[in-house]
């Protein structure tokens, strides 16, 4: 069986695991005060080009989103997101659990525009009753999006400008940020993202780590953030688990190098699909590829390939997602292409 179902099927990148083994018996201080956590944070600050950024490590994407959004919002504020945003549907209401409305804007291939955000804000404040409504308190985007698409630099600049002119933070969910950055078509750098966003996270779970995301506040951080993390039950006693992994990932550009494998393998798959005349559901350049497959063919395909069901296309066709990752092997891509 071939696995192209998601980007978290394996454990950690071997180099990351090696560092966990090597440092295992070192006696380190707890709760993220150890030397590896500090080193990882410092390397990330360098990588993003913000010397005084605040960096925290959190177990996974939902916990990170919940903590960041809850901390950045006042109680009467909500977060604006594409209707397709991860926080809107696939986090079991983790945002609402903290008391905040997730405000859905229509999306196009997973993206929202600066114009749509400004328009929402304009209409909100024009409403004479807005004092009895949920205030738009921040903007959430994901990059790459849940549809594998990327914001252009120009789009991000426009979103950043709208957020700043309305005095609300722009937050970027980077669960697959490495795969975005590693895509040749991506015209925005990590350093530019750090400048345009007020907060964002660099995903580890899907890009080489066993667990963990690096949450970054580029400007101000919420007051007493560590206490907030603890209050959410999200502070690991052995913070080293994150520290060592991210220290490894941000040593010698490992994070970016291993991300490239996902793009290279996805590009090979897309080339083969294109050549064989498959219908793309939408055009992507990152590690996620969405195609429309005829149901009978899909049945046979599914006997040899684990894929991700995306949605029903019509009575006879289905949209499926094929995912690559840092761990995708060339021979598995060969085998997949053979099957197409």
């Amino acid at each position: 069986m071939l696995y192209f179902i998601n980007d978290y099927s394996e454990g950690a990148h071997p180099e990351v695991l090696k560092r966990l083994v090597e440092t295992n018996m070192e006696k380190l201080t707890g709760y993220g005060t150890d030397v590896y956590t500090e080193s990882a944070a410092e390397k990330i600050r360098e990588a993003i080009g913000v010397p005084d950024a605040k960096v925290y490590f959190i177990s996974g994407g939902t916990q990170t989103n919940q903590l960041a959004i809850d901390s950045l919002l006042e109680s009467y504020e909500g977060v604006i997101s594409a209707a397709s945003g991860h926080i809107m549907g696939h986090e079991a209401g983790a945002i609402e659990y903290t008391g905040h409305k997730a405000i859905a804007l229509p999306h196009k291939e997973g993206k929202i525009t600066a114009e749509a955000v400004q328009s929402y804000i304009d209409i909100f404040y024009a409403d004479a009753h807005h004092d009895r409504m949920v205030f738009p308190g921040m903007v959430y985007i994901s990059h790459p999006t849940e549809y594998g698409t990327l914001y252009t630099k120009k789009e991000l600049e426009a979103l950043s400008k709208v957020c700043r002119s309305n005095n609300i933070p722009l937050y970027l969910d980077g669960a697959r940020l490495g795969y975005g950055i590693a895509t040749p078509e991506c015209d925005v750098t990590l350093k530019e993202i750090a400048q345009l966003c007020d907060a964002f996270y660099i995903g580890g779970t899907k890009v080489g780590a066993l667990c963990g995301e690096a949450l970054i506040f580029t400007k101000e951080e919420p007051s007493r953030f560590i206490t907030r993390v603890k209050q959410h039950g999200a502070l690991l006693a052995k913070g080293r688990l994150y520290g060592v992994q991210f220290d490894a990932l941000f040593t010698d550009d490992l994070y970016f190098k291993i991300s490239k494998n996902a793009i290279d393998t996805a590009d090979r798959i897309r080339a083969a699909l294109r050549e064989k005349g498959y219908t793309f559901f939408l055009n992507t350049t990152t590690n996620q590829t969405f195609i429309v497959m005829e149901n009978e063919q899909l049945k046979k395909f599914g006997e040899q390939v684990q894929y991700d069901f995306w949605e029903r296309y019509d009575d006879n066709h289905t949209v499926i997602r094929l995912c690559t990752s840092w761990a995708t092997k060339s021979e598995d891509v060969d085998a997949l292409i053979e099957l197409l």
Copy 2:
């Protein structure tokens, strides 16, 4: 420098780490549906003697307590705990964050009694205004306690009986449960604990794992618990991280064997302390030892030993805690004894 400051200074037990390495590149399903998670749960069900117990793996103690308590309580209910309970002070209000009052009962060496619980409940229901008060909805105990003490079987039976006669669950925080079970003086078995409690967790973070606690509902489980875990941001995509570790810990009694090292080393330290005439702050038999040290001596001691400050004793003395763990080395104990 010698380290006796806590029981989470190292990474994972080598055997646990070895299994993480061995299974690292296996392609496994996510969110706790993998074979190792199921195997670990099954081994735990066997170890506790409850074939249909529900077992979940959560990152750390605070997250586990928050999830278990929030899920077991109705919104108008609070949790009864010793004033010294971990949830009362050292979890940054994680229980209150979920909307519930933590109700403090006076403790003796970290323990509460069945009588005190029943008395609290009696007074509560006798109050004509109790409909406008927080209902006592469950009892939280830790075993070993934060003071390193243990409940006797008789005490646990009495607490269990009180809870059942009042129709509220008994929940046991087992952050250091291994160290409790491994103590010869402990007259209650894991299987008995499982019978007496409605929910409890077997701590991994302090007993051989990099992270993770095994939360167990021995009778009914809260509805849709996995969704609650996700909603709290506590569901790992790579659930294998917990599964593989606990599968290793519950293979060939590893969890209990490595726990024994903490007790053996602590016993050696206590014997030496006793011999040298030190004053014990309270008598413990688990991996935590509390002594009263003269401040001048402590200053010198602290130059060679990392210890945990517990509390001020008087103007000239301080209570300190010395901790051992699965990782404590015999030669470090020798060196410590030399210094005493």
Copy 3:
């Protein structure tokens, strides 16, 4: 100046106020245990034909919705509502504040259909990832809706059937229920509504009371509901304030008689509008009338009439709402018609 801006511009119906004055110096027990509260509840139970219904009085619509919805849902459940539902936009996120997602369905003139609800539920459970999504836990409708429209008996029966077959409660927001019932076109009785819904409230604030809504659970009530009310800060010490008012409103059908005035006056206004060729934004038969007015005309109109801005229609036209109530005077309607 004429007032047709809303249905809460005056205080209480004189008969209601008279009873407050008459009973004012009686010494009554607190927190809703007084004889008037019990009498009011009993009269409501008779009016709705459910002898063992539970009746609670709450200050206003938002508090009532928040309490009812939060109490009827499990923490991982959300409430399905028309996108135009009052809870979706105009309650400042009161539902999300209690941790629950308000799930928007597209509406038609303020209404949702049984088919749309069933379809949402079907798609939800068909999603392989639904364990990590917010469960649809109840259905919220308003009757009359925020658009002044009414559900037909058939529509309500279909919604009720869908809810029961999916084992989730149907909750009806009756802020203007009196005005709905008093409308000749309304083909569903209060008794039928009580049979079809699991919970609903009979609005007092907009129908003759100074404040207060009667929240009714027709079947099971949430456990310890009074404690939940207190926990939300919504339990009045002088519960008599609600009791006396609702006792008056449900004596000799006062509630229904005074509701009729709103419909009679609205009907007269609508007849005049129709006669004079105004464009209706949508057809309503209750106390709210929505028309499209040319902006220049509206400017002059606004100098003599307080109306409610609803929305922009096009560059030259605006949708406005004209509201009547139990308090609308015939001479004011005459004057308004004169101005049209």
Copy 4:
């Protein structure tokens, strides 16, 4: 039967009710934007001597405490209160419901001291683990207290000073503030209270109103407070209900004049009790009197007088509370004294 059980047995003071009747059919704007609400706020600003204070009207004490405390605290902060504080026990966990720990300090006759507050704060910050604990974020006191006692000016000044030097707000629950001010022994004025506190409320429910408390922020107010009120479900559409009542209460010092009746009648009762040799449980000078009564005597007493059970004193004695209010009649006091 005589009623001395509480201070909320009657409706509103007749003058207050008269104004509700007189203004009943005036067409007023909603949600607290009416002229009476503004007039009431202005009169209160004058009465407290803070021209730019922010004044809001909320239904009852629990709602007011919940809103004020939740709004003044960061999510990781708790409120320090006497263990006997109303928020600690008799509000069904309304504070915890909003996510905050209520931190109990030992009390003496319902009061806490500046020293105890400072000591708690000192110990908190001295704890090396305080980043993982609930931060002390404000101080809650009640005046008069739940025991009917009063803070002296000196005590309040000390508490105010401690709060300001620690940069946390001092909040005063004035459910019975009128009765405190009207007590000759009270050496602090309303204006001084306003200077010493950062927020407080002037109770209406127990002092002449049907419902409603005036919540005052003397310095900064929490951002978008009206939206927070709505989000809590606590914003009345007919805000006039509060406005008219408080406008009446603060016209010609009505609030203070009617408060005096409670003290005069309580003083007469206390004089009679003293003369007849009753044992006072504690000394009070406000409208609440606590005595120890022999159980057999109490049984007979209870057949003619509604009193409030306070607590068991010993096997043969009970502590009871006798309450007066603005509504207590001289002839009822005569009758009570006769019975003593």
